[in-house]
């Protein structure tokens, strides 16, 4: 009964017309997103290149500068400081987040009660907004804040140029470690249990098993997580902006690349230079990802 109905219907329909109709409907369904991507992603890249070749102020285009906005970056002390801070932050943040996240993942991966609860609980800082989290850190790391009282140390952590960037490293590693934990948990669950059994038969203790078996087997996880963190670290902005009140201080110690970019655009009102900085940073991020991929990524994943 149903079969004959099917046959009748397909017999009647005009295949060519159906195809056309399906195509038109397909375009209609994706029209708004594609328009948005065109106007707000592709066009801005081209337009950024255009802007970057001019002196560009509040009222728009001034003089054409060729590649001057790029070449002047080489001699720009603040740009150099920003890159240095960015790299310092990214390296420390990546290592600390991975260490903390992996540590928590390994603990939570044990046969414990309320494992799901702990897993969810430790992820919580990661979903709290950057502004709220930074406000909490400002309070806890202030001169008479909780951290100093508990540790007996005496620093205004965000107020001193020696400690401010490290305070942000600590803050971001704390929040990001929850995300890192979730990724490592997924990779840990993928390790077959018989390798642990083999290690146990060989008489390896927990410490040795971790370093000789678990850690090397997590290599794809290390690669994936570090790639995300390096890019995330280079893009860090909110915490440095909020902690320093938008200045990158004290003494430029929290002036990270994106904050520098923001200041060139909105404090100096030099949009041409800002666009050049943005493009340079994007190329830098792509290059780093590529290098990372070539050095660690080969053969790990199809």
């Amino acid at each position: 009964m149903a079969a004959t109905a099917t046959a009748a219907r397909t017999g009647e329909t005009n295949i060519g017309g159906d195809r056309l109709k399906e195509a038109l409907i397909g375009y209609a369904f994706i029209a708004v997103p594609m328009l948005v991507y065109g106007v707000l992603f592709l066009y801005p890249i081209v337009y950024a290149i255009y802007i970057s070749r001019y002196d560009w102020g509040v009222f728009g285009k001034l003089d054409e500068r060729g590649w001057g906005n790029y070449s002047e970056l080489v001699d720009d002390d603040r740009f150099r400081i920003a890159i240095k801070n960015g790299l310092k932050f990214t390296v420390a943040f990546t290592i600390l987040s991975m260490a903390l996240g992996l540590f928590v993942a390994v603990v939570v991966n044990n046969a414990i009660r309320w494992r799901g609860f702990f897993r969810s609980a430790f992820y919580f800082p990661a979903i709290s907004g950057s502004a709220a989290i930074t406000a909490i850190a400002l309070y806890i790391l202030s001169a008479d804040g909780l951290f100093n009282r508990l540790t007996g140390l005496d620093h205004a952590w965000f107020g001193e140029s020696d400690t401010a960037l490290w305070a942000i490293v600590g803050l971001n590693s704390w929040t990001t470690s929850g995300t890192v934990m979730l990724f490592y948990l997924a990779y840990l669950q993928a390790i077959p249990t018989d390798v642990y059994e083999a290690a146990a038969i060989d008489g390896a203790g927990a410490w040795r098993t971790f370093w000789k078996v678990t850690f090397p087997l997590l290599k794809p996880g290390h690669f994936f997580v570090s790639t995300l963190l390096v890019i995330g670290g280079l893009k860090m902005f909110d915490q440095a902006f909020i902690a320093s009140g938008g200045t990158g201080g004290p003494n430029n110690s929290t002036l990270v690349p994106v904050l520098y970019l923001y200041r060139v655009a909105f404090s100096d009102v030099r949009f041409g230079s800002a666009a050049a900085v943005g493009l340079t940073l994007m190329l830098l991020m792509f290059a780093l990802t590529l290098i990372q991929r070539l050095t660690f990524g080969r053969g790990d994943r199809a």
Binding site: F29, I112, F118, R149, F286, D300
Partner: protein, 320 residues
């Protein structure tokens, strides 16, 4: 026809675009890790001495980690119930708990307005994106049209464009177009998030084709098939997209800062917190009250919809 079917791998960023990070463990893998973690409590403590020691060590570490992760939030919450003089004492709980700080941020400072802006923007962006991304995701997963693969590569390519590159040209153009400082400028920047469209497409690919073919044979049009058959089946993916978008907009600091700088009445909570922090640096109870207001709604959502937040982590891989 069979050759035409694209597997996930064909479009996975890792396979095609060398500059996108490798694909993360899938949503299912993460979910499975969660189920496994939640369900199985094996090893009843105390079988052997070594195991007992191990159990004690593990619980001690857990306790330490829990302190590290929660004391800051606890301290924040209790500080918001103190008076300013009381914050000078090193005491967790306030002696005379008071809601003064909350009253102050709502009446003297503009936090009611900021909260309203946050709710409105997060809701509008979430609804629009659930609609646009599910429709677009469905088209990319199920409909055949010339140029589909190329257009989908465009979607993936947008994931690689950092906002830090976009904001200068967008700021210049939006200023030209007179959009700066308007709510709809923000909505426009957040519209049709590519990561969510990608997530929806991946989900639609996993739904068997039989059902929609049956609907088509019954004479349902494409939109009707989408709305009556596919959308109800995509519940989990829609929930994940909705949660992700709401959380993303609610917590977003960068774009509201760029777009509403000149328009304080449009500030969202994160920008409001920054503003307050800049002007009244040591009004700790008020600052912490503002922080609690900014975190509490997300915390409430998290308690009820945890697994969709976790699904969001899986898509962080494509977010870059």
């Amino acid at each position: 026809m069979a050759d035409d079917v694209r597997t996930e791998k064909d479009f996975a960023p890792a396979a095609d675009a060398p500059l996108v990070p490798p694909s993360p463990p899938g949503m299912e893998e993460l979910a499975r890790a969660g189920e496994a973690a939640a369900g199985t409590v094996t090893g009843i403590p105390g079988r052997t001495r070594a195991e007992r020691v191990r159990t004690v060590v593990v619980y001690a570490l857990l306790f330490g980690i829990a302190l590290l992760y929660f004391v800051p939030f606890l301290w924040t919450a209790t500080t918001s119930l103190k008076t300013l003089p009381e914050t000078a004492y090193f005491r967790l709980l306030p002696e005379h708990p008071t809601l003064d700080a909350y009253r102050n941020v709502f009446t003297e400072f503009d936090f009611a307005r900021y909260a309203g802006n946050s709710v409105a923007l997060a809701t509008v962006v979430t609804l629009l994106n659930v609609f646009l991304c599910s429709l677009g995701g469905y088209a990319f997963a199920r409909l055949n049209f010339p140029g589909r693969e190329v257009l989908f590569m465009v979607v993936l390519a947008t994931l690689m464009v950092p906002d830090q590159l976009r904001f200068v040209p967008i700021f210049v153009k939006f200023t030209d177009w007179g959009l700066m400082g308007h709510y709809h400028a923000y909505v426009l920047v957040k519209l049709a998030a590519a990561a969510q469209l990608f997530l929806m497409r991946q989900y639609f690919l996993t739904i068997p084709k039989d059902l929609e073919e049956a609907a088509k044979l019954d004479g349902a049009g494409y939109f009707k098939t989408f709305r009556k058959v596919m959308l109800p089946l995509a519940g989990p993916a829609i929930a994940a997209v909705a949660i992700l978008e709401f959380e993303g907009v609610w917590n977003d600091f960068f774009w509201p800062l760029v777009i509403f700088t000149s328009e304080p009445s449009h500030f969202t909570l994160p920008v409001g917190i920054f503003q307050f922090r800049s002007e009244y640096i040591s009004q700790w109870p008020e600052l912490m009250a503002g922080t609690v207001i900014a975190i509490a709604p997300i915390a409430a959502l998290y308690i009820f919809f945890q697994r969709y937040f976790v699904a969001g982590v899986a898509s962080a891989g494509v977010k870059g």
